[in-house]
């Protein structure tokens, strides 16, 4: 062979670099849960909505909460974790309700079921029906419960996918939007 060692080394180095790059890209996906839905709306304006109140059927707009931080909870009565976290959200509303607006949005459930549950548990905060799940799709909901934390400027700061297991979990999350 008459090839210079420099050329040969260069070819091998190129092949090794390309292989390493390819393996690096593939390795990025290994170890991550393929079923985990990414949260893309962080730092973006919360989608606007107009829904009807479960209490009296009156229209409620997202603009009605403008200037106040907002906790938006998607839930359903067929979802056991949603029911389990309800006392924590009720406590949170009593504790932070003067500084933060609390809104529940019923996901893929009948209004009658939701109304009966809320009546039974003397829930106080605003509850809305999203009968066609349009708002759920706008927010990128992929299951319930999901809770969105929106600051007073209408920007989504964070999202909790899954139930709050304790009051302290909620407290640490809500602190990011408190004025």
């Amino acid at each position: 062979m008459n090839r210079s060692p420099l050329k040969r080394g260069l070819a091998i180095a190129t092949a090794v670099l390309l292989s390493a790059f390819l393996v690096g890209i593939l390795a990025r996906s290994f170890g991550s849960d393929p079923h985990r839905v990414p949260f893309m709306l962080a730092g973006k304006p919360a989608p606007e909505f107009t829904l009807t109140s479960l209490r009296d059927g009156s229209p409620v707009r997202s603009a009605d909460f403008k200037g106040k931080p907002l906790v938006l909870n998607f839930w359903a009565t067929w979802c056991a974790p949603c029911l389990a976290e309800h006392p924590i959200l009720s406590w949170a509303e009593r504790t932070y309700g003067d500084r933060v607006a609390f809104v529940g949005i019923v996901f893929e459930d009948s209004e009658a079921n939701a109304r009966a549950f809320l009546l039974e548990h003397a829930s106080r905060y605003v509850q809305l029906a999203d009968s066609k799940s349009t708002v759920a799709v706008d927010y990128g909901v992929s299951g319930v419960p999901e809770t969105y934390f929106v600051d007073k400027h209408g920007i989504i700061v964070s999202k909790r996918a899954g139930p709050f297991a304790s009051v302290s979990e909620f407290t640490s999350e809500v602190s990011s939007i408190l004025p």
Binding site: M1, N2, R3, K7, A11, T14, A15, L18, S19, F21, L22, I25, L26, R28, H35, R36, V37, P38, M40, L41, K44, A76, T77, W78, A80, P81, L83, A84, E85, H86, P87, I88, E108, D109, S110, N113, A116, F117, E120, H121, S131, K132, S133, T134, A136, V137, D138, Y139, G140, V141, S142, G143, A165
Partner: protein, 155 residues
């Protein structure tokens, strides 16, 4: 305490048929636009399913997502705008096939680059060695006995 409340509530609602209601999707558009809706529906992953498109999933949420596709198509949005709507909310996870752009593009290009590099290396190596032609063995020097035999044969 929380578990007890949840269990009580669950029993309460199971007793009064607390299942999620079946929801009817919006009306189909005209034939041409509805065909577009169905094609696009096959490209997006149902948010609450396991690897099923919103067109093929019977889930109520998938129907809601397909309704959103229908709404966007009815508004005159292009395919890319509809795709962006879902990617903005669910990331590229929403796509049944990854986009051929960004980091994912390298997954398409790199194997081809590696193949091309391998071919170049092989071609150069074979050329440097004088190709694949068989090389004849060098003539061996004759021994004294062989010289003698050759001389006798000439006579």
């Amino acid at each position: 305490m929380t578990t007890l409340i949840a269990a009580t509530a669950a029993i309460f609602f199971l007793a009064q048929d607390g299942r999620a209601p079946t929801r009817v999707g919006t009306e189909p558009l005209d034939a041409a636009r509805e065909a577009r809706v169905q094609t696009l529906g096959g490209k997006f992953r149902c948010a609450v399913c396991q690897g099923v498109s919103i067109r093929d999933s019977p889930a109520s949420m998938a129907r809601a997502q397909l309704d959103k596709v229908r709404e966007l198509v009815a508004q005159g949005k292009g395919d890319l705008e509809v795709e962006d709507y879902f990617v903005d909310r669910y990331g590229e996870w929403a796509l049944m096939e990854p986009r051929k752009s960004g980091a994912a593009l390298w997954l398409w290009i790199l194997p081809l680059l590696l193949l091309a590099t391998g071919i170049v290396i092989i071609v150069r190596a074979t050329r440097g060695a004088g190709g694949l032609e068989p090389v004849p063995p060098a003539p061996r020097p004759l021994t004294a006995d062989l010289e003698k035999v050759r001389a006798e044969l000439k006579e």
